[in-house]
């Protein structure tokens, strides 16, 4: 009985170890999106995303919508005020898990990954998949990701007049440099 207990205890400690996997958070990063129609192409960039991942394959990022910058200020105004309603929905957020490769473990070198998770934009939650690469060196992790979203999935309506200027499919590129998260004590 005592032996059995010890095995249980050891197993328990092992699992605690697994649960407390190393977390990496971003020191710098950017999110860029592109809208392309036959008539107009434009992009916007945000240099203030918070990105994090754990060594066992959890990925999360949060973007202050307020911080997207456009070449044309008027577009920025319309984006914030009319489309994203950033004062009501200040953040966009994604939380997901790496599903490919199976049983992902962060290791030195470059890995192609596929992430599945929940995206929240404009107050609307939707499951999405994204592909990307994760490159680990000794002290940092470089993350790239690409995915498309449909504005109509997130209740972002394009007025009829602007249907030629704004694409319903928006391509998003994420880029971040992560470092091991320091414990707070």
């Amino acid at each position: 009985m005592k032996k059995y207990s010890i095995i249980l205890l050891m197993a328990s400690i092992f699992f605690i170890g697994a649960a407390f996997s190393q977390v990496y958070t971003s020191s710098e990063g950017s999110i860029r999106f592109v809208s392309k129609t036959d008539f107009e192409e434009f992009e916007a960039v945000n240099h203030q995303p918070s990105v994090a991942m754990s060594s066992n394959g959890k990925v999360q990022f949060r973007v202050p919508v307020n911080s997207f910058e456009f070449e044309k200020k008027l577009m920025q105004t319309h984006f914030q005020e009319n489309y994203m309603e950033s004062s009501k929905f200040p953040n966009a957020e994604f939380k997901g898990t790496i599903i490919e490769p199976d049983n992902f473990k962060l290791k030195d070198g470059k890995q192609e990954v596929k992430v599945k998770g929940i995206m929240e934009i404009h107050g609307v939650v939707k499951e999405i998949e994204a592909t990307g690469t994760i490159k680990k060196t000794k002290n940092e992790v470089i993350m790239f990701g690409n995915f498309d979203i449909l504005l109509s999935d997130y209740k972002i309506n394009i007025p009829k007049n602007n249907i030629n200027q704004i694409s319903n499919t928006i391509t998003i590129h994420l880029e971040a440099k992560l470092e091991p998260k320091k414990s707070k004590n």
Binding site: P64, Q80, N82
Partner: protein, 293 residues
């Protein structure tokens, strides 16, 4: 006893792992970021009064303002539609928070140039450590044309200074008040007999209430507090409509003038006897300097 502790540990551990799998949060709750509160008005004007907005750096705003004659001119004058008062103006954001404007207008045959500088001193922010936006505005008007040749340079000029304090109370409602000082050459064509240069205090009050995400109703009232003479206070009701790159402002107002010296000091008609007119402002912005993304 030991066994109980171990079982409890294993049990807790299972719960903990379960929690990890369902909803994780690697970022945790970050401190709420503080942002500037933007877009209190659709454009730099309420109706006649300057709003809390400033043309962004590198952006050129072409402004056309147009006022018809007053409705009480009657059917012969097509209820004012035969008359046209126009100001063409350009506004440009020189640096962040500072814009310049120059314009030319023609009020009842009275030609003039005007210019102003508008600077945002404080901007309201989301945690209310700055609860209001504060703007300083200073400008001048100069009367052109031989009809004013007999006047001194001083008497052809008007100056004004204004502080605009306002707040975006909700997504839809913004209110501002604007204490204003003017030193003014009274305009004889508008206001009757010539009066020499005088100082005036006035206070502008403006608000906008959105009715849809892209349109709003605007109100403004500008009582003159000192040396009012025989003019009336400017009162306007307007509607903003935003369509793509343009903002259209339609209004009913008793002021025919199109810059501060005219509509604050020289409003000579009143709402009481339908001395009101239709008008519109048109704003079209162009990006001159593209920021590096």
């Amino acid at each position: 006893m030991v066994r109980k502790v171990i079982i409890a540990l294993v049990f807790l551990n299972t719960i903990f792992l379960g929690a990890q799998d369902d909803g994780f949060d690697l970022l945790g709750d970050e401190e709420d970021q503080v942002y500037s509160v933007n877009y209190a008005f659709k454009t730099t004007k309420v109706v006649n009064l300057q709003s809390l907005e400033i043309t962004d750096f590198g952006v050129l705003d072409f402004k056309m303002m147009h006022r018809f004659g007053s409705i009480n001119n009657g059917p012969v004058e097509a209820f004012g539609l035969d008359q046209a008062t126009v100001r063409f103006g350009l506004e440009y954001g020189i640096v962040e928070n500072l814009m310049i404007s120059m314009g030319r207008s023609n009020v009842l045959g009275n030609k003039n140039l005007d210019a102003f500088l508008k600077y945002r001193i404080l901007q309201q922010n989301t945690d209310n450590s700055i609860p209001v936006t504060v703007i300083a505005l200073g400008g001048a008007q100069y009367l052109l044309g031989s009809v004013h040749d007999s006047k001194t340079q001083m008497d052809r000029s008007s100056l004004f200074g204004q502080i605009i304090i306002g707040r975006k109370f909700t997504e839809d409602l913004s209110i501002e008040i604007a204490p204003t000082w003017l030193t003014n050459a009274k305009n004889p064509i508008i206001s009757g007999p010539w009066v020499h240069h005088q100082h005036q205090w006035a206070i502008g009050i403006g608000m906008r209430q959105k009715i849809t995400p892209r349109s709003s109703i605007n109100l403004e009232y500008i009582p003159v507090l000192t040396n009012k003479g025989d003019v009336f206070n400017s009162f306007s009701v307007g509607m903003d409509v935003e369509t793509g790159g343009h903002v259209f402002q339609f209004q009913l107002t008793n002021s025919i003038g199109l810059n501060e010296a005219q509509f604050i000091s020289n409003t000579n008609e009143q709402w009481n006897n339908t001395g009101i007119r239709l008008g519109f402002n048109l704003s079209r912005v162009f990006t001159i300097v593209k920021p590096k993304l």
